[in-house]
């Protein structure tokens, strides 16, 4: 299945002929990624009449380019106004926004774009080379293993609440409880829905994200003239192209971080249903644990921005693998791609790589070209994007509220969801004013239902036997790794103290 070099080069050149569809899809992807509620999946659905009328390869390349660019676009509002464009960018503001507030928004954008492009290129090449092996990953990761993967992400709650662990845990567990609203996947019993039919299908994610980040942020910032701090405003005024180059350089300084977090994203992307949100949370958490300066995370620390952005772009190519090899989409966008390809009578499976290489390999080469184009198109724009932050909050806040509220209407077309966004906005505002981390609540809301789904499936298969959680070798290995990652920070501190104690004693 892995292509030889000649075939790959020839496919790459052939894909370049599709520049006329890749460029508009890329621009559109950046825009829809940057607006909460306008995910790539929604946009592809809206444009179905267009994609269905195209040749299968053209349609696939269009969808792949749009999807790829939207992943990168989601980081823009996450950094500049603390509003992740999609759930996959939910970990980006943790360090991106503090950088922006301190006047380093342009640099943060450059880091985000460079890390995204580098991660996208690395993982797309890796995906092309490792397709036969990566396609097996999904077979080995069942409900039990996925429970542990989810717990890796959820353990981030404890990390980001380092300033006040008790408050962080309350926020995180509150988020998990909110995530359990709705009918369960096995018995479909409605739970905690307040009698609203609209909540039977779980708490809608985009309104929760809009409320916790955008609405609450808008209520907070109105007491300031701009989002920027005083020093940040001065810095922003004098910014030229320097911060962009600085951002590019900073990313390459952290090249190891880019590589391993993007590959982590690739592996998580291969698992159907896991997605970019879990990848970015897990990457952020693991990056912090392995860091020599974990205390700097959450304060505008560069690796804290590099890790989630690399991971969520690593997911992009991973999502395509189970779709093309076994016909199982790795996420919502891949599911829509499957619908379009099935409409054209495309049969998924290993044979696809021989029978229709322009669709199978072409999806990856289109992704490579999109990432190169993204790098060329978007990096020069960092200077202008960052100007958003000097817009006075009296104008910014009303526009943010209006457009993000209506953005939360888009996925399901329920006005109810706009109300949900306001409720989450009030909760988010209270949380911000009283020192509870809104990201901890959001992690619970995003990962809670996923964790429960896998947990219920595991218990259903084992007929209620809890020992199933420790029944597989891979699962047990992951449990040990989880335990080690939880104990590592304390252990590192202890060893550090021991070391400094010994040094003092020697002196």
């Amino acid at each position: 299945m892995a292509p030889d070099f000649g075939v790959f080069v020839s496919l790459f050149v052939d894909t370049l002929d599709y520049w006329w569809i890749i460029i508009p899809a890329t621009l559109l992807g950046i825009v829809v990624g940057a607006i909460p509620g306008f995910s790539a999946a929604n946009t592809i659905i809206i444009l179905l009449p267009l994609t269905l009328s195209m040749e299968p390869a053209t349609g696939m390349i269009f969808m792949v380019a749009l999807y790829t660019a939207s992943r990168l676009g989601a980081g823009i509002p996450a950094i500049l106004v603390n509003i992740p464009g999609t759930a996959g960018a939910a970990a980006t503001p943790l360090d991106g926004y503090p950088m922006a507030v301190s006047g380093r928004g342009q640099q943060a954008l450059a880091i985000s774009f460079t890390a995204s492009v580098a991660a996208g290129l690395i993982t797309t090449v890796a995906a092309l080379l490792l397709i036969p092996w990566l396609s097996q990953v999904a077979y080995h990761l069942h409900s039990v293993e996925m429970i542990v993967v989810m717990l890796f992400g959820i353990s981030l709650i404890a990390t980001i609440s380092a300033a006040d662990t008790i408050k962080g845990l309350i926020a995180g567990f509150f988020g998990l409880m909110i995530g359990y609203i709705g009918a369960d996947v096995v018995y479909e019993a409605p739970r905690g829905t307040f009698g609203f039919l609209e909540l039977y299908d779980k708490v809608p994610l985009i309104p929760a994200l809009v409320g916790l980040f955008a609405i609450s942020e808008a209520f907070v910032v109105i007491e300031r003239n701009t989002i920027l701090s005083e020093q940040g405003a001065i810095k922003q005024q004098h910014a030229g192209w320097g911060p962009t180059f600085e951002g590019i350089r900073d990313t390459f300084v952290h090249w190891k971080e880019v590589i391993w977090t993007s590959l982590l994203g690739l592996v998580i992307g291969v698992i159907p249903g896991a997605g970019a949100a879990i990848a970015s949370f897990v990457a952020y958490q693991q990056s912090r644990i392995l860091s020599k300066t974990p205390e700097l995370y959450g304060t505008g620390h560069i690796p804290g921005l590099v890790a989630p952005e690399s991971a969520n772009n690593g997911v992009t190519s991973g999502t395509l693998i189970p779709l093309l090899i076994i016909g199982v989409p790795g996420g919502a966008t891949a599911a829509i791609m499957a619908v379009v390809l099935e409409y054209h009578g495309v049969a998924f499976g290993p044979d696809l790589f021989d029978s229709q290489p322009m669709i199978a390999y072409g999806s990856f080469t289109a992704m490579l070209i999109t990432y190169v184009l993204l790098g060329l198109m978007i990096l020069p724009l960092t200077r202008y994007f960052s100007r958003v932050m000097v817009v006075p909050t009296v104008y910014m806040a009303p526009i943010l509220i209006a457009f993000t509220l209506v953005g939360s209407f888009v996925p399901r077309a329920y006005v109810f969801d706009m109300g949900v966004a306001i409720v989450f906005g009030v909760i988010g505002y209270i949380a911000r004013r009283t020192g509870y981390h809104v990201a901890a609540i959001l992690i619970g809301v995003i990962l809670g239902p996923l964790l429960e789904n896998y947990f219920l499936r595991a218990l259903r298969i084992s007929e209620g036997d809890l020992t199933v959680l420790f029944s597989s070798a891979l699962g047990n290995t992951l449990w040990v790794l989880l335990l080690l990652s939880l104990l590592a920070p304390g252990l590192k501190r202890y060893l550090g103290r021991l070391k400094s104690g010994n040094t003092n004693a020697t002196e």
Partner: protein, 171 residues
Amino acid sequence: MQQDPQQEARNILPDCIIPALALGFTIYYLTTITEVPWISQASAIVVSGLLSMAIVAFIIRSVWRIHRHRETLRLQGSLQAMLGYVPTSSRRIGLLALAVAYVWFIESLGFTLTTLIFVFAAIVLLSSLANWRNAAVISISSSVIGYIVFLYFFKTRFPTGPIEDWLKSVL
């Protein structure tokens, strides 16, 4: 560590809102799962147990700190701590009321008109009536750009009303 006598004890009443909300919601949630199979209850029971333990830890810590005069629990000043002082507090409440009204009316008036009114009213509320010209320009341009980009070009599923219906028949 003893409290610095010069330093005023911090009022933690606002800090209790999130734990109170969380606890209230958890109790409500648990009442809704009494009839479902235990497998469907399991996750929520584990998490609600952990949440309760965290809240108990929060209460114990608060009692300890109040006892040490590092924190206090009083109604006075709590509202200001949450909403800020006048005029910021009244602006926040006004903005929330406008946001609720925006959601309330958008289904009947549609995106374009509701956005225009909301953005205009919110800018005037946050600055002053003297700023009405800027408010008018920004509200009209944002709703018109929103219409052109999202409704006209992208055919996005936004709530529509009389203006969108009229424009649809004209364009």
